[in-house]
Structures are given as structure tokens and as C-alpha cells.
């Protein structure tokens, strides 16, 4: 047990040390300040701008920015959809895979362009190397860079700067952050054992019984793997994602993947602190999220370590729940990975969430509901500050002061946009489709685990889609050729799109409005937002809002299942 906690503590310590370094670097990149790597990157960026015809200094208005996000993402999704449908005639297809069904290709294109990577397919048996590398691997970078660009525009607006140019920020996010880290990370992953080859699967006779053969799937995995995690994408090369020994062969690769997942969402909070010139507030908010993260890890860790009481009776002693977990990760690395991946909206998994104990499942769901522990690539940080604005408004009402954030008045427009963003869109696109699906358990749902857990399976799938996470309680029959595959592909596509683009539109509009507001001078009557008290109130607002909206679902699903197991199945 102690060894497990040491592993967790060690990883978190590295995260803490990494945050100011990477956060400071990101801030310098987007503030246009010189960095050590300018000589390397500036010529590359000049070539890219020239080829794509971008004028690097033209800033965009709010609606123009939104238009650029939507049109570029649409163009990318359409091109990827076409590539997937044509994979049968495209090269690099050693296993001779044909085109997927149209709805699988549609869901996949939407899922990857929205940075979700919900997968209603198995990589080995559905997509060729070409589709994975050229189509899906492309969206790994651009969807992550879109998130970073929106977050930077949001922070700029909040701190009174012009929003910037979407295409410039998109390019910078790739050339300065995602691509360099991926290059280094991918080489380490190959050295540690992750394959990078275009060779076809190898078939060998098994040692014990040569009449039975084993097929070893291969592929260009390493370069795919690192950006999968770093970009909060999460779409595995193989069906079973980072539990596959080729995607994640050992303790080193697992550590790299966890750090890659959490690096940018944590750092962006620090980046905000530099933009706002208020590092104290950044660390306070950081500490609040870190606290929630720690509590979630502890709950899940204890649940998995104690194991399944019904099986422990058969074992004769309490042992960790290892169903769906790999020996090389054990309970500690599986829990840390699971809480991190659901919190950061990465969606990669190194163990099967469906088989986790109920309270761990509740933690995973809570992460998807709250969306801020640490939240998705870029968008998570933006949600966090939207919550702060909401907390300013609530406390302003309570103490009778005019709500202000960073010296700018919070008025009707801001409150409407943030509450639309946080309080309405998310639950609407989880609970309503969830209710429709549950009303037709036979025709639509395809639940594989009976009882309370079945409810969690359905809600998890929509929560994962709307939060742009991508992990799942994967027992659910959500893929073709299951008869429920079509419904799941189409209905989650709606949640994917709504969960991504409505908040992005609202965030950009919010930031655009804030940047135009006059700054009110600070007086003794101003409510300070960089204090421990205010941060505590924000935590309360986040947890109460989240609990009020989603507690009934948790109570009927995971919590009821917990009591069911405690009482003996």
C-alpha cells in the first residue's frame, strides 16, 4: 500500500515542478516574447505562414475568431471523413481493411475533430495504418491546438488584450508546444519498447501448443501515442488503448503518458497567472483544483486497493481489484491514470473503467461532470475561470457589492454566457439523450452490466461525449456491428458537437466582451478574487452546482451499486 502512495506522490511532485516551467514557456510563446528556441522555430513558422497565406499580425474580432474555428474544424472533419471512407483503396493497409460503416466514420471524424476521441471501433480491426497516421493523427494535433488557441484567446480577452489571430495561435500551439514535446516523447517511447513500424502483424505458433497461432498486431504506434496523451486526445492505436503492452509497455512509458496528459492543463493555469500578472491567484486556483484532484485519487485508490468483497471471500484475503488491470501497473498506477485521464479529458485508459469499483466509477463520472479537474486541453482552464466569474457574481449578490473580475464589471451578458456554458449545455446533452436511451433499453441502450451499473454505463457514454473526454464504460454495445451501434454513433455525435462548439462560442464571446469593458479602479469596496476565502467560495460553487445537477444520477448508479456490493451481490 505504502509503495503505491509513494508512486502517486512522486508523479504529482513532478507535475508540480513542471507547471511553472511549461506554464511560463507557454505564456512567453503567446505573449510574443523571445524564447530560447526562436532561432529554430521562427524560420519554420515563416514558411508555414507563407504557404498558408496567414498575415501574422492581424487580430480577429470575436465573431471572426469563432468563424475561423468553426470553418477550419469543419474542413478538417470533412477531409478526414473522406479519407476514412476511402481507406480500402488507399495505401498502408497491410491487413486489407475495407471502409468502415458510414456512421462509424462520421462518429470517428466528429469525435476526433472535437478532441474527444470517443472510439466506437477497435483500431486493429477497423482502421488501416494510413487512416490512423494520416487522418486521425492529423486531428490529434489540430484539435488540441484549437483548444489551446481558444484558451489563449479567452485569457487574452479576460486580461483586456485583443483576442489574437486563430490561425497564428493554432500554428504556434503546434510548432512551439505540441510538436517539439511529441518529437522528444516519441523517441523515448520507442526506446522504451513502443513499436514504430509499417510492417504487417506477425503470426507465430504459440510455445505451448504450436497448432494454435498468435497474431501480434504492430504499427507506427510511438509517434501516435505521445500526441494522443499530450493533446488530451486519447484515441488508442489498438482497441484496448494504453492497457495494450505495445502502447504502454512499462513503468517509464506509463509515467510519461500521465505527465503528458496533465502537463498542459496544469500549466495553462500558471500561464493565466502571467497574463493577468497575478501569480498568487493562479496558484490559489491551482491549489483548489489540486485539492479536489487529490481527494478523487484517494477515494479511487482506497476503493481499488480494498478490492471486490465478493471475490476477496474466494481469495481468502483482501486483494486489490485487478479485473481489467495489467500487472505492471497494479492498483496505484491504474487509479492515477484513470483519475488523470477522466479529469484532463484525455480519455486514454490503461485499465478498464467499466470494471473499476463503484466509488472509483463515481470519481470518474464526477470528473466528467465537473470538467475542471484539470479539464480539457485549453477549454478546461477556460471553464475554471468561467466558474470564477460565476463565483464573483454569486458572492457579489450575497454581500451586495457590484461584481467585478480583474477590474471589469460582471453584467447580464457575462452571467448569461457563463451559466449557459456551465450550467446548461453540459447537463442538457448528457441527461436528455441519456433519458431517451434508457427509455428503450432493448432497442437503443445495449447495456452489458445489469442493475445500477447499467445506468452508469449509459450516462458515462454521454458525459464522456459532452465533456469531450472519450473514455467509456466499454462493455456498452456502442459499436457496429451491434444493432445499437447506429443509435450510439449518431446520438453521441450530437453531444460531441454541442459539448465542444457551444462552449467555445460562448467562451470567445465572453472574452471578447470582457476585453472591451473599461477597467474600474480598485477601491476598498472591491471584492478581491485572489484570496483564500474567495477561492474557497469558488470551490463551493463548483461542487454545489455539480452536485445539484448530477447527484441524482450518481446516487442511482455508482452509489447504489456501492451499497449493493457492500451488502453482498
Amino acid at each position: 500500500m505504502v509503495q503505491g502512495w509513494i508512486q502517486i506522490a512522486g508523479t504529482l511532485l513532478i507535475v508540480l515542478l513542471m507547471t511553472p516551467l511549461l506554464g511560463g514557456y507557454i505564456a512567453r510563446v503567446f505573449l510574443g516574447e523571445p524564447t530560447r528556441f526562436d532561432r529554430l522555430f521562427c524560420p519554420l513558422e515563416r514558411i508555414l505562414y507563407q504557404l498558408s497565406g496567414i498575415r501574422a499580425h492581424a487580430t480577429m474580432s470575436g465573431w471572426h475568431y469563432i468563424q475561423a474555428v468553426l470553418i477550419s474544424n469543419l474542413v478538417m472533419a470533412v477531409l478526414v471523413f473522406i479519407t476514412l471512407m476511402l481507406q480500402g483503396v488507399l495505401p498502408l493497409n497491410p491487413t486489407g481493411l475495407g471502409a468502415p460503416t458510414w456512421d462509424t466514420a462520421l462518429h470517428t471524424a466528429i469525435s476526433f475533430v472535437t478532441n474527444t476521441n470517443q472510439q466506437h471501433y477497435s483500431g486493429e480491426t477497423t482502421f488501416s495504418y494510413f487512416s490512423q497516421v494520416v487522418a486521425l493523427g492529423f486531428l490529434f494535433f489540430t484539435s488540441a491546438a484549437t483548444g489551446i488557441a481558444v484558451a489563449i484567446a479567452f485569457i487574452r480577452g479576460l486580461t483586456g488584450r485583443p483576442l489574437g489571430n486563430f490561425y497564428v495561435d493554432l500554428t504556434l500551439a503546434i510548432t512551439r508546444i505540441l510538436l517539439p514535446i511529441s518529437l522528444v516523447g516519441a523517441v523515448i517511447l520507442v526506446a522504451a519498447g513502443t513499436p514504430e513500424t509499417l510492417a504487417a502483424p506477425v503470426v507465430v505458433p504459440t510455445l505451448e501448443n504450436p497448432n494454435v497461432q498468435q497474431a501480434i498486431a504492430l504499427g507506427p504506434v510511438a509517434h501516435f501515442e505521445i500526441i494522443k496523451d499530450l493533446g488530451e486526445n486519447g484515441g488508442g492505436f489498438f482497441g484496448i488503448n494504453s492497457a495494450h503492452p505495445f502502447e504502454n509497455p512499462n513503468g517509464l512509458t506509463n509515467l510519461i503518458q500521465i505527465l503528458a496528459m496533465i502537463a498542459i492543463p496544469t500549466s495553462l493555469i500558471y500561464t493565466y497567472g502571467i497574463f493577468a500578472n497575478n501569480r498568487k491567484q493562479a496558484w490559489l486556483v491551482y491549489g483548489m483544483v489540486f485539492g479536489i484532484y487529490l481527494v478523487f485519487i484517494a477515494i479511487a485508490a482506497i476503493a481499488e486497493y480494498q478490492g471486490n468483497p465478493a471475490i476477496n471471500t474466494l481469495l481468502g484475503s483482501p486483494q486489490p481489484n485487478l479485473e481489467g488491470k495489467e500487472v505492471r501497473f497494479g492498483w496505484a498506477q491504474s487509479v492515477l491514470y484513470a483519475v488523470t485521464t477522466t479529469g484532463t479529458m484525455c480519455g486514454a485508459v490503461n485499465s478498464m473503467h467499466d470494471s473499476f469499483m463503484p466509488l472509483s466509477g463515481a470519481v470518474q463520472l464526477a470528473n466528467l461532470f465537473l470538467q475542471i479537474v484539470w479539464g480539457g486541453q485549453g477549454t478546461g482552464t477556460a471553464y475554471l475561470f468561467a466558474y470564477l466569474i460565476l463565483a464573483v457574481f454569486v458572492t457579489g449578490l450575497m454581500v451586495g457589492r457590484t461584481p467585478e473580475f480583474l477590474g471589469r464589471k460582471i453584467e447580464k451578458r457575462e452571467v448569461v454566457l457563463t451559466s449557459l456554458l456551465i450550467l446548461l449545455v453540459h447537463p442538457i446533452f448528457i441527461l436528455i439523450p441519456g433519458a431517451i436511451t434508457l427509455a428503450f433499453p432493448e432497442q437503443l441502450a445495449g447495456i452489458s452490466n445489469p442493475g445500477f451499473h447499467g445506468l452508469s454505463q449509459v450516462i458515462y457514454e454521454y458525459a464522456s461525449a459532452a465533456a469531450n473526454n472519450g473514455s467509456g464504460f466499454e462493455g456498452l454495445a456502442d459499436s457496429q456491428p451491434a444493432p445499437t451501434g447506429l443509435w450510439w454513433n449518431l446520438s453521441t455525435s450530437v453531444s460531441l458537437l454541442a459539448g465542444r462548439y457551444i462552449p467555445i462560442i460562448a467562451l470567445v464571446l465572453l472574452a471578447d466582451g470582457m476585453s472591451r469593458k473599461p477597467v474600474v479602479p480598485m477601491t476598498t469596496g472591491t471584492l478581491r478574487t485572489d484570496t483564500g476565502l474567495f477561492t474557497g467560495v469558488t470551490a463551493g460553487v463548483i461542487l454545489i452546482m455539480g452536485a445539484l445537477t448530477f447527484f441524482p444520477v450518481l446516487a442511482l448508479g455508482a452509489i447504489a451499486e456501492y451499497f449493493q456490493i457492500a451488502g453482498g451481490i
Binding site: T175, L179, V327
Partner: protein
């Protein structure tokens, strides 16, 4: 026509970035991997003296007999099939998978405890009784199926619990087996991160070298 202009602009940047991140970047990593780390980049394949591939050092294989250390139960039987009867096409692509059984699912208990049924087709032997018949003290990793169904490892406890059985079947001393086990442990990274595991395929290959 500003929308038209925007689409052209988006298309241009999409194609430029496409070449950078989906063509050049993978090619660089492919080149570095194949030149600098050819063994890892090609799947850590174990070959015999004649150059035939025996398996991958990172991927487990099914073992159920007395002469070998058993691996963990697998939902895909370690991506293996009888080539004469591979209706699911497992050998065409290779597969991975998991049970995805919830802890509250009665099917999980049935799978482990076994289930009697009048119809012998529907009866389940149960992982627990299989282990007991083989004389193995059950551990969690040997009862629960893995995440990938390809888990190359078992825990040290699970390997130790099998020493007597394998020693008897092979006519080896338990201390010889203990040495072999220790030689085939993959440890934690830096002694901190991850859990140690005994690589079953490599251990069993080493066994075959000692007593073919």
C-alpha cells in the same frame, strides 16, 4: 463571398499543417525508430537461433499445462486461434480486449467461482477450481482477467505459487526455478513507478532451454 474566402484559407492551412504533423513528423519518428532502436521499433520480437519468431517479449501467450508457468486468464486467449478454425479472423489482424464486467455483475462471480448447469454447454468450470486442480494458491492476478488480454506478466506471488507444480513436472529443483523467476522479473522504473512482474513467456522459454 467572405465565407468562400474563409473556406479557402482554412483549406490552405489545413493542408500545410497536414504535411507537417501527419506526414513529416511520423516519417521522422519512423526513421529514428528503425535506425536507432530497430528491436523495440519492430515489436521486441524474440527469435530462436534459426531466426524464427517465437513471440514478443512484451506480449503474453496462453499457458495452461503442468510443464509451464500459467499466465493470467485472457478474454481473447492472448490474440491466438487455431488457424484451421479462425472464423473470427483473429489471426488476420491480431486483437485485444477485456471482459468489461462490472464488479457487481453476477457473471464475474460465475466466471471465477464456476456455475453448475444441467446443460453442460452452459456450465462454467470457474477460474478458481481450475487453479485449485492445478494445485495453485489463487492470487488476484490469476483470478481476474487483464486489461489488454495480452498481459505479459504475473505477480511474483503468482509465480512462486506455481514453483512446486512446474518443478515436479520438469524434474527440476525449486531453487533452480526461483533463480529463473528472478532473472525474468521486469522491475519498477527507477525502483518507484509501476509494479514488478514476472514475464511469463520469457520465463517459460528459459525453462525450455534448461529442460527441452
Amino acid at each position: 463571398m467572405s465565407i468562400f474566402y474563409e473556406v479557402i484559407k482554412a483549406l490552405r492551412i489545413t493542408l500545410v499543417l497536414w504535411v507537417l504533423v501527419a506526414v513529416l513528423y511520423p516519417l521522422v519518428i519512423l526513421g529514428v525508430g528503425q535506425i536507432a532502436f530497430p528491436y523495440q521499433a519492430n515489436g521486441s520480437l524474440i527469435k530462436n537461433d534459426r531466426g524464427q519468431v517465437l513471440g514478443s517479449a512484451l506480449i503474453g501467450q496462453p499457458f495452461t499445462g503442468d510443464r509451464y508457468f500459467h499466465s493470467r486468464p485472457s478474454t481473447t486467449n492472448y490474440s491466438s486461434a487455431d488457424p484451421q478454425n479462425d472464423t473470427a479472423g483473429i489471426l488476420k489482424t491480431g486483437v485485444s480486449g477485456a471482459s468489461n464486467l462490472a464488479p457487481s455483475n453476477p457473471a464475474l462471480l460465475d466466471r471465477i467461482r464456476g456455475k453448475a448447469d444441467r446443460d453442460p454447454q452452459k456450465a462454467i468450470a470457474g477460474t478458481l477450481s481450475v487453479l485449485q486442480q492445478a494445485g495453485i494458491q489463487p492470487t488476484a492476478d490469476l483470478l481476474y482477467t487483464s486489461g489488454s488480454s495480452l498481459d505479459p506478466h504475473i505477480t511474483l506471488e503468482a509465480a512462486t505459487a506455481q514453483i512446486d507444480r512446474v518443478a515436479k513436472a520438469r524434474g527440476l529443483s525449486p531453487s533452480q526455478l526461483e533463480t529463473l523467476i528472478v532473472q525474468n522479473v521486469d522491475g519498477r522504473f527507477l525502483g518507484i513507478f509501476g509494479e514488478p512482474g514476472v514475464a511469463v513467456l520469457r520465463l517459460n522459454l528459459a525453462l525450455d532451454k534448461v529442460t527441452p
